[in-house]
């Protein structure tokens, strides 16, 4: 069958059907409440900071706050909040169904398993993108709301503000794409996906000291390359400190390479999951 002869329209309808079913479960499930709390944590941090500044009658330093935001975005938001949020969302897409003993519902439909995987991944991605993009925007609002509106407008419309906001949203989305693919694979390949999640966390943490080729096998390498504001030395203390190690890419990738690299990595991981999913059996008895 030629590429053009494939039933793309059918697959599109099926992917949408899977995503509709899954989105409701992912966004509205009570067991996913902790992901919302996790996503709101940095917003509360910035809101508290702004509140204290206003209460103390102090005027903030816009440049300094921009750098602090860059550091928190890299150290806390990407590495912990989005990382663990994606663990919660994506490992459950298949693993949760096995634990609920409901995966056979999908396996008994006239649906290719790779189409099922695409639908589930899309639903997870939509949920993660909505939750974490909203969090990114709210963080920016919470950080800058106590500044004079002229300063903020100047930053947004006459400086690089809008570009920075777009870049942070783009990095957030790419983080969801990258970590999402890895944790979906963990849910398909492993009975206990928490263990591979910890291994990935360790890998992402130490990847900064690995040889350049191995660095490219981590999601954080590409994400750091795309962050619009470099974390300055005054925050990372000195070049040999742990924070510097976490924040600085010695040889960052170009924007195009970073985006393509991350997408290729994600597609490769999803393809591996798809191969495993095709051979997956329903055997709830061993759970």
């Amino acid at each position: 069958m030629s590429f053009r002869g494939l039933p793309w329209a059918l697959w599109r309808r099926q992917i949408v059907a899977v995503a509709r079913l899954e989105l409701k479960k992912t966004l509205l499930a009570r067991r996913g409440l902790w992901i919302y709390i996790l996503a709101l944590a940095p917003v509360l941090l910035y809101a508290a900071h702004s509140f204290v500044m206003v209460k103390a009658g102090r005027r903030g330093n816009f440049g300094e706050d921009t750098h602090i935001f860059a550091a928190v975005f890299q150290f806390l938001y990407l590495r912990l909040v989005i990382f663990f949020g994606c663990v919660g969302i994506f490992t459950n897409l298949f693993r949760g169904e096995v634990l609920d003993k409901s995966l056979h519902y999908y396996f008994l439909a006239p649906l290719r398993r790779d189409v099922l995987l695409a639908g589930k991944y899309l639903s997870g991605l939509l949920a993660a993108a909505v939750i974490f993009s909203c969090s990114t925007l709210l963080q920016i609002v919470a950080l800058y709301w106590y500044f004079n509106s002229n300063v903020v407008q100047d930053y947004l419309y006459h400086g690089n503000g809008l570009l920075h906001v777009a870049a942070y949203l783009g990095v957030t989305l790419l983080a969801c794409i990258g970590y999402g693919s890895i944790f979906l694979a963990a849910g398909v390949l492993f009975r206990n996906p928490q263990i591979p999640a910890l291994v990935v966390l360790l890998w992402e943490t130490v990847s900064g000291v690995l040889p350049p080729l191995l660095q490219k096998c981590s999601v954080i390498f590409y994400l750091k390359s795309l962050c619009p504001v470099t974390v300055p030395g005054s925050i990372t203390l000195d070049k040999s400190s742990l924070l510097a190690l976490l924040a600085v890419n010695v040889s960052p990738a170009s924007v195009v390479t970073a985006i393509l690299g991350l997408l290729v990595l994600s597609v490769a991981v999803l393809a591996l999951s798809s191969l495993r999913l095709r051979r997956m059996e329903i055997d709830y008895g061993v759970e």
Binding site: L21, K101, H104, A109
Partner: protein
């Protein structure tokens, strides 16, 4: 079993399935024609494994399976022609009965209007119309069984695989469900029904496959074995609101050997030599004021019937 062409049959060629070192089924050779075929055997005999093999939920360790000429590894084609009502009593979270069936049809790629029409038809067919928009979490066991059946038949399949489909149904619904199976078989469908109770399926089956410890120990037309079991008492547990009154009514029948109250007081254990007539009697009793919640074969006795039929030691679970 008969001469239908291979692409009209369900064919197992030397199929074995092992779960690690545990045997599921071994060296199964079957060629199942259209009509109603019952897989009968005690718990652990391999009935569900055979059904899961023919639907691709598990893969054979050895051998080859073809369902109407299709491989179970082609779900996108197989499940357009096959419906499977599994024994798994679990559902995707948060769905109503209607959504459960409707979403299945949308997964198969059908548009909203067609999926809606087919879902409503299937739900009406299993008499669940009034409860269709209630959450499945609030359904009784019998209702869950019926909504699974609706999902299995909603796309008008050619092959219907039903794993213990009468479990948990009250006598009236059981009779209606059996009538539905007959109607479907009359349309030329393959119906593969599993049961650990031969009595339950012998009245509707064209042929039977007896399984023991993962092996097919006998297969053929139902008539031969039916006569044999007629004389062997079978034990049935009936859960109802008034077991005492039920006992007084059933004990008058000559084919009821024994009737005693269940130890928890909520049911009656009946031994009968003629399960068919007993089930008919229950239908009449259910219409006359006694609220029958469930009817289920009492397992130990089923095993003894089974032993009797295949003439072997009690199969291990």
């Amino acid at each position: 079993m008969n001469d239908a062409a291979p692409d009209k049959r369900i064919v197992f060629e030397d199929v074995s399935k092992f779960y690690g070192e545990v045997l599921g089924v071994n060296r199964v050779n079957l060629s199942i024609p259209p009509g109603i075929t019952s897989l009968v055997g005690p718990n652990g005999s391999g009935k569900t494994t055979l059904m899961n093999l023919m639907t691709g939920l598990v893969e054979p360790t050895r051998g080859r399976i073809r369902v109407l000429g299709l491989s179970p590894r082609q779900p996108e084609q197989l499940f357009r022609r096959l419906g499977y009502c599994t024994q798994y009593d679990s559902f995707p979270r948060g769905l109503t009965g209607y959504q459960f069936v409707y979403s299945y049809l949308r997964l198969s790629g059908r548009g909203h209007a067609e999926a809606e029409e087919l879902a409503v038809q299937a739900i009406e067919r299993v008499n669940l119309g009034e409860a269709a928009h209630r959450s499945i979490a609030s359904y009784s066991k019998g209702m869950r069984q019926r909504i699974k059946l609706a999902q299995a038949i909603c796309h008008n399949p050619t092959v219907l695989v039903l794993d213990e489909p009468l479990n948990g149904l009250d006598p009236l619904i059981r009779a209606e469900t059996i009538a539905l199976f007959r109607a479907l078989a009359a349309q030329g469908l393959h119906l593969i029904i599993s049961s650990h109770v031969l009595h339950e399926v012998d009245v509707i089956s064209d042929q039977v496959v007896l399984l023991s410890n993962g092996y097919v120990v006998a297969e053929g037309e139902i008539r031969g074995v039916r006569d044999e079991i007629q004389e062997h008492p079978m034990q049935i547990l009936i859960r109802c609101n008034n077991p005492g009154a039920l006992a007084s009514q059933v004990f008058l029948q000559d084919y009821v050997v024994e009737a005693r109250l269940h130890h928890d007081g909520g049911g009656l254990l009946v031994k009968t030599r003629d399960a068919d007539r007993f089930y008919l009697l229950l239908n009449r009793i259910a219409q006359n004021g006694i609220d029958i919640e469930s009817v289920a074969p009492a397992d130990d006795d089923v095993l003894s019937v089974y032993e009797y039929l295949i003439g072997t030691e009690e199969p291990s679970k």
